[in-house]
């Protein structure tokens, strides 16, 4: 019992003594020192951008400027998160990326409503006093601590000395605090001890200063509760979508390698049976065998269509090859332009492929067009499929053309389907998808 207490005191004592030289202490010190100018910069950013916006509010520029400045604060937030990750080993998940709208007005609206941006602004404002005070405290403890701790050496070397009149009329050299001159050895040791206390307590001061900022970073620079949940849902949905695509792919393989091969073999066996039996049995038996073989052939061709509906094998060669095959198969001449610099995930490729297939079928069936254009461009994290025709127009989600079903399918991965189809045409349908679910 006694021993345990002694050893725990020793451990605590050791920790206190070692604290000034641990990696954690130095990292936190670096964080406080680097954080102060960043905090200043952030505050300047907020003040300048908000004042400018206010000043320009009477013109058309004020609100747009604010709409840019708010999401812009995320950038400084990102720097802070990076600093916290590297120096504090504090990993804060970034909030969901800013999603600007497609036109200027949507962009302004999104900017003004950017919750993560507002939270970053709040952080920049709120963290400033703490950061500066923290820096001051830290410097005071460390600087004064080191100076006092090493004062006996400085005194011996004659540096950092103040002078005071001695009681005997002479001049005394030493540290003068509140009229007391520290120049004798016992007094120098007191200074030294005070320095040691300051140095030993400096790590805890730093830790406190960092703790404050750590809480602010956690609270304001991470995703808020709702958006964390959204991020999580989006992640699991992407997983589910990819998983479903992989499952379909596997089913296609199994059908292809197993069932289809067996059906072909069955057909061949029936053929052999017919040939072997020829002339030796009644016409009725032969007729049954021929019917069986024809059924096998039908089954093969139906299975091929089923497989094509599950996962078109041609997609293995990439979306551009698959859409080229679609365009080639179309009943209406198709001008095809593809520019796919970045390959989308399998699930997205499948959705884009089926959209293209359905839209081209619509063109052939409903539009009365004699030309169609298909454009596929994948860049900047999005893929855009545009199918245009010169037909009679008037296509819409209610027209029984399956457009609603397509839009629903596209929406499962946060994509959009825009229909521009005035009466008398032409029809342009644009599908916009993320590259990854």
């Amino acid at each position: 019992m006694q021993n345990a207490r002694v050893s725990s005191v020793l451990v605590t004592g050791g920790r206190i003594l070692r604290a000034p030289v641990t990696r954690r202490t130095w990292a936190e010190l670096a964080y406080v020192i680097a954080g102060a100018p960043l905090a200043l910069l952030g505050a300047v950013y907020v003040v300048v951008s908000f004042l400018l916006s206010a000043g320009l509010a009477v013109t058309a520029l004020g609100i747009p400027l604010l709409a840019v400045a708010i999401p812009g604060a995320r950038g400084l937030g990102r720097v802070r998160r990076g600093l916290a990750r590297v120096l504090l080993e504090e990993t804060i998940v970034a909030p969901a990326p800013f999603r600007p709208g497609r036109d200027v007005f949507a962009r302004i609206r999104a900017g003004l409503r950017d919750l993560a941006g507002w939270r970053a602004v709040a952080y920049l404002v709120v963290s400033l006093p703490g950061s500066l005070l923290g820096l001051a405290m830290v410097l005071a403890f460390w600087a004064w601590g080191v100076i006092a701790f090493t004062y006996p050496i400085q005194h011996a070397l004659g540096i950092n000395q103040m002078t005071a009149p001695g009681r005997a009329g002479g001049i005394r050299h030493g540290l003068v605090v509140g009229g007391v001159v520290f120049d004798t050895w016992p007094r120098l040791l007191v200074v030294c001890a005070a320095g040691a206390v300051l140095v030993l307590s400096a790590p805890w001061v730093v830790r406190t200063a960092v703790l404050l900022d750590r809480l602010l970073v956690r609270g304001l620079l991470g995703p808020d509760g709702t958006s964390a949940r959204i991020t999580e849902l989006r992640r699991t949905r992407a997983h589910a979508v990819d998983e479903a695509a992989a499952t379909l792919r596997r089913i296609e393989r199994d059908l292809h390698d197993g069932v289809q091969a067996r059906l072909v073999a069955l057909g061949m066996n029936l053929t052999m049976a017919i040939e072997t039996l020829d002339g030796r049995t009644s016409g009725a038996t032969r007729g049954m065998l021929v019917t069986a073989r024809d059924n096998a052939k039908e089954a093969i061709s139906e299975l091929r269509d089923v497989v094509r509906g599950i996962h078109p094998p041609v997609l293995d060669a990439g979306l551009d090859a698959a859409i080229a095959t679609l365009a080639a198969r179309s009943a209406i001449p198709v001008d095809l332009r593809t520019e796919i610099t970045e390959r989308p995930s399998a699930a997205i490729e499948t959705i884009a492929y089926f959209c293209a297939a359905e839209l081209l079928t619509n063109v052939a069936k409903h539009s009365g067009a004699d030309r169609a254009t298909v454009e596929v461009t994948a860049r900047g994290g999005r893929i855009r499929l545009r199918v245009a025709d010169n037909g009679r127009g008037g296509a819409g989600p209610t027209g029984g053309t399956g457009l609603r079903g397509l839009a629903d399918r596209v929406a499962t991965v946060d994509g959009t389907l825009d229909t521009d189809s005035p009466p008398a045409g032409p029809t342009v349908i644009t599908v916009d998808l993320p590259l990854h679910a």
Partner: protein, 214 residues
Amino acid sequence: MRLIIAEDAAILRDGLAQLLTLRGHEVAAVGDAAALRAAVGEDPPDAAIVDIRLPPTHTDEGLRASVELRRRFPGLGVLLFSQYVETRFVDQLLAEGSAGVGYLLKERVVDIDDFIDALQRVASGGTALDPEVVTQLMGAGRRTKELGALTPREREVLGLMAQGRTNAAIAKQFVVTERAVEKHIANIFTKLGLTASDTDHRRVLAVLRYLERR
């Protein structure tokens, strides 16, 4: 005929070998592209039946081996077969000429007479394309102005020519006389601007124009 089959699915490979043997052909069978190269290199047969997707990657090993073998053995007929029509394979296959090549869907082996007919055409330097392949290319072919000038019946005739059918076979299919087919073909040549220098050659040219323009 002396034939070799390169197909990785044992059930298809053995069944087809059995069926062709039953029809009196001499058949060897291998399961991958390396074995195909070795076997053909040792003793070139009349024709090879090659699955486009072979181990190990199951992408286009069979196609690549076929292109290579045809360079080494120009007289070798190659009949590729696959589960689906993939037009990009047709392009690569026909890139070095359409003589002695064929491309059929696997299921065509069920109609063994047609299949052997196609094999014989390929072995003797002709062409055999699956109707499905031709349909796909046909859809694409409509784009060009020249082919657009053809009547539907003429396009059908051209499609059958592309499959490698003879005039007699085309006449039988449409239940018309061979004379009528010849007339259609003459119209096709005129509309495609192919002058009468060598009839057989024009036939190939017409088919190639039909296949290439898309």
